[in-house]
Amino acid sequence: MPAAILPSRRRNYILSLARPSNIRGRSRTKRLMSDSTIDETEVARFAALADKWWDPGGDFKPLHRLAPARLSFIREHLLAHFGRDPRAARPFDGLSLLDIGCGGGLASEPMARLGFQVTGVDAAGPNIQAAQRHADEVGLTINYRHAAAEDLARAGETFDVVLALEIIEHVASPGLFLESVSALVRPGGCAILATINRTAKSFMLAIVGAEYLLRWIPRGTHDWRKFLRPSEIARGLRPHGLSIGALAGVTYSPASDSWALSQDHEVNYMIFAKKRAL
């Protein structure tokens, strides 16, 4: 499977090589104009960490810690949106879900356990291999594919739910990315995004704090200039028929050493957006 996809992927890499120095102004226009969301250096960085995804004490420890808060936002809004039974063992049986930038499958696997028919895509081949290996080991059926969001959108695929968790801050062209996300959502379906806000506080906490002082995540994981504000995401989705249904912050509490949903969107936040039924 990867062999067939690779050539076109390489072409995309070249087109996206020019990384914007700033999200505003000319360079931002350039990003929005690109026909690929793939940022080669980002892809290479995550590909190198592919075998670390499922080590709860390893490089992706912060994502493991973040998971319960993130998943409860997803579950709560999807239960309400689709009117499903909160006590069911597999409340989302019969619904399809696409996890964009699935990495090692940290969100794909929980979604599969909850009943979704899950497709996971990632621009880094080694991630897909690691994700597939892990799903096989734990006995979950997930359709993992080495692809970018726009590949699926161009092929006209649609899903009941599209997840884009901690991925938009790593793509080369957020405008195209949001357009692809919108196209991938079936009418009456919804999308959930998680990312980091572009604020002074997020610079202090997500870059200076998490990467330099606490060393929770490797230095250079994030480029603050690529972070988007909730309003920017809303603006990117609206023209394509998606409206924001909910916004929540995900904040760290040092007292309980855990993450929880909150009203503070200044650093990590999540967006629930729905598409009108036809």
């Binding site: 499922w54 356990r113 080991e137």
Partner: protein
């Protein structure tokens, strides 16, 4: 998930989780029929109000309700002293302070409920050789050569927990120079739901009301004396029993066999390891003075079941370290406090040095006259103090 050990705590956890739609294997060395036979376990347990809530919430209480004796009052008295502490359930609400249930009755109800749950498989009699954790699950190897792949293994295999030892979790333990003699006494007059705890010089002597004109006796005695008591013939033993029991319920007779258990305290350094959680006695075995051992185990169950069900509803792997860390934090304070309190109580009350006796009598009388302090102690004994899991609060999982 795999629960290793199908005793009271292990089965209760299995039922709580399977009732919420989680696939559970409960593995036990003993055949269920043997566990229900009288010589297996003649003890009764004090079920605190909070534990009753848990059993009710998982559909077990209705199966034993008729055989549970409510405790309406607790009288604590020091030997030969007129001062005593008196707990009446009406001081904290309408509910009884707790119940006395024979372990046999509890086991029968648990087995009956377990058999009705399609998501629970009770594998017994079968041994567990090892639980080998890996990144995607833990392999539980059974004595018949089978292997069960589970996300989480729970060691409910008792105070000598082989799984705990294999995981390299160390314990702090010490033995008391005492033994607990357990038997059932039949008496002439009804007990009216009153539990009595006499603090004798050799240790506490508890009379716990059972259904009918019967009381369960938990008699703490110095090791030497206990050995002597156990060697006595029926008539001799009954005479010793009656001497300590007193005559307030008329004539007293021994009913059925008697048992003797060495008393010791054990506390595990950690309650979890890689894809392993310790439950009940494998994590903490406390002195039975306050009748809180099983209640502590049931509170473990309520906390762990809630964490497991919540994480399963999020689709998470049940062996995730976050879950185990939260379990550790939620349970440690409760069990350390209780171990220290019961150990302290035992040390305080198991002697006859005059100044200590005077102080403890004054202490009891003082507590009796300070309603807020007393209510707090009662609520703790009832297992309803502090931030409690949903099952303890009487809410569904």
């Amino acid at each position: 998930m795999a629960v290793v050990g199908g005793g009271l705590a292990g089965l209760t956890l299995g039922i709580a989780c399977a009732g919420a739609g989680i696939k559970v294997a409960v593995i036990d060395r003993e055949a269920p029929a043997d566990m229900l036979a009288l010589p297996f376990d003649g003890r009764s347990s004090a079920i605190a109000w909070g534990s009753r809530q848990v059993l009710e919430g998982i559909g077990v209480w209705e199966l034993l309700r008729a055989e549970a004796q409510p405790i309406l009052e607790i009288r604590v008295a020091d030997q030969g002293s007129p001062l005593f502490l008196h707990y009446d359930h009406r001081e904290v609400g309408d509910q009884p302070l707790g119940y006395i249930v024979e372990n046999r009755v509890l086991r029968r109800a648990l087995l009956e409920r377990a058999a009705a749950l399609p998501d629970l498989s009770h594998l017994a009699p079968l041994g567990v050789e090892a639980a080998e954790p890996g990144l995607s699950g833990t392999a539980v190897r059974l004595s018949d050569g089978q292997t069960i792949q589970a996300q989480l293994a729970v060691a409910a295999d008792g105070r000598n927990s082989p799984l705990r030892k294999a995981a390299g979790i160390r314990t702090v333990e010490w033995a008391y120079p005492q033994a607990g003699i357990v038997c059932t006494a039949r008496h002439e007059k009804p007990h009216r739901g009153v539990a009595v705890e006499h603090f004798l010089n050799s240790g506490p002597f508890a009379i716990l009301p059972m259904t009918g004109n019967r009381s369960s006796i938990v008699w703490t005695e110095r090791l030497e004396t206990a050995k002597r008591m156990m060697a006595l013939d029926g008539a001799g033993f009954t005479a010793e029993l009656a001497k300590r029991f007193g005559d307030f319920l008329g004539e007293v007779a021994l009913e059925g066999p008697r048992w003797s258990y060495p008393l010791s305290l054990l506390h595990a350094e950690r309650y979890s390891a890689d894809r392993l959680a310790l439950l009940g006695d494998s994590a903490h075995a406390i002195h039975p003075i306050a009748g809180q051992g099983l209640n502590l185990g049931i509170r473990d169950v309520a906390a762990l079941a809630e964490l497991i069900v919540d994480d399963r509803r999020l689709g998470l792997d049940l062996g995730n370290p976050g879950l185990l860390g939260r379990y550790e934090r939620r349970r440690r304070l409760d069990s350390v406090t209780l171990s220290a309190v019961t150990d302290g109580l035992n040390r305080l009350f198991s002697n006859s040095i005059e100044p200590i006796r005077t102080v403890r009598d004054l202490g009891l009388a003082l507590v009796d006259r300070l309603p807020p302090v007393k209510r707090m102690l009662m609520r703790h004994a009832m297992g309803v103090l502090g931030d409690q899991p949903r099952l303890v609060r009487g809410e569904p999982l």
